[in-house]
Symmetry: C2
Subunit: 214 residues, 2 copies
Amino acid sequence: MTQVLQDPIPRKMSRDTRRAQLIEATIETLALRGYARTTLTEVAHTAGLSHGLVNFHFDTKEKLLSETLSLLAEEYRANWQAYLHRAGVDPAAQLAALLLADFDPAICTQARLSAWCSFWGEAQSRPLYQAQCGANDAAYNACIAQICADLLAQGGYSGDAARVARVLRVTIQGVWLDMITTAPDYTIEEGQATVHACAAAFFPRHFSAAGVIL
Amino acid sequence: MTQVLQDPIPRKMSRDTRRAQLIEATIETLALRGYARTTLTEVAHTAGLSHGLVNFHFDTKEKLLSETLSLLAEEYRANWQAYLHRAGVDPAAQLAALLLADFDPAICTQARLSAWCSFWGEAQSRPLYQAQCGANDAAYNACIAQICADLLAQGGYSGDAARVARVLRVTIQGVWLDMITTAPDYTIEEGQATVHACAAAFFPRHFSAAGVIL
DNA sequence: AGATTTTGACTGGCCTGTCAATCAAAATCA
DNA sequence: TGATTTTGATTGACAGGCCAGTCAAAATCT
């Protein structure tokens, strides 16, 4: 009803807006229908557009999926780096930031987790995953390993930094997988508590199940 | 050359043999081509049989996938229960057994891990997963939680058994996912060491990165 | 008017499931 | 034992349906 007065909903929108809209619809469709049943018609319908538009903006389905993964990867990278930057220079604060970053409401939604899981699970998308996320993952690994090394040294803990970092990383990954595959009664708080319990086991004077100890 | 003397390779085999053969081919195809590209023709070709046979033995593709998941689930359950049984009554030995069970060469192959991952990642297969694996997973969770509770009590550790159990479980899950999605330079030994490092963090007098301390 | 976006019908290809014909082994008969 | 029938596994061609990508026409914007 207010339709006429305010936004005439321009049929013709900027290229980037349409592309973003279609990518968002792709994420939703991947989550709802799964990789195998994600069709261009379904994506277009979810976006409220016609099927031909997808090919107009992305040429092929493969490119659409590639750009979708690219968006997820960039969003993920930007998120943890922002958390890390805000944490300052203290290793414990940095580690706490990294652990919480993956549960940020912008990143950790049912749809996005499911979409990630689609790309992990589908063998044919693994080369694509390596190409899009390999560098990001390597940067993340180097970063969390360095932070663990600093915290081990600073806190006088013993342990192999790379291995501690790996445990923390796979724990987060495992919690993510758990949040998707098990019933949806899994809250973000429980996920955070699980990861914090893991951190507390390695760094008992810096972490508890409730989070970082300042 | 000995062909004529011994096995003439019977064209006609027992129902169960063929079904097992086709299920094994399904696992390989899921791993190699992914869920979305797994076709009946591909499965039949991998098994060296004709495509019509798949429908003859399984009626529908859906039933073939269902029985494949069923086999994986049963195989997995039988494996950890056998490990647990052999471990006796000591909680530390029991936990060590559970941690090692998931790296048994019969269970932890590239093909089987990939197939599991296909079922996790494909949204459409999640109800099937719940139906086939829900009860098994619940039993596993209850079991590892009880063992953690016993070990916490026996060792005089402090901590929430359910949460410690969850961390260990998601760590194993995360390592599995890691072994599939990252480059294949991930050895079983490294996976075991990662899980053991996690156990050592919670139970330092019972575990080291090398495994259980007797 | 000219440029650009959007639509929806169309096509060619692939996939699942069906089915009639084939074939090998087992069972039965002479 | 040798011939014949029955059983049930196996094959490959086929039909129906769905999907990605194309394209000409329409709608919209500048």
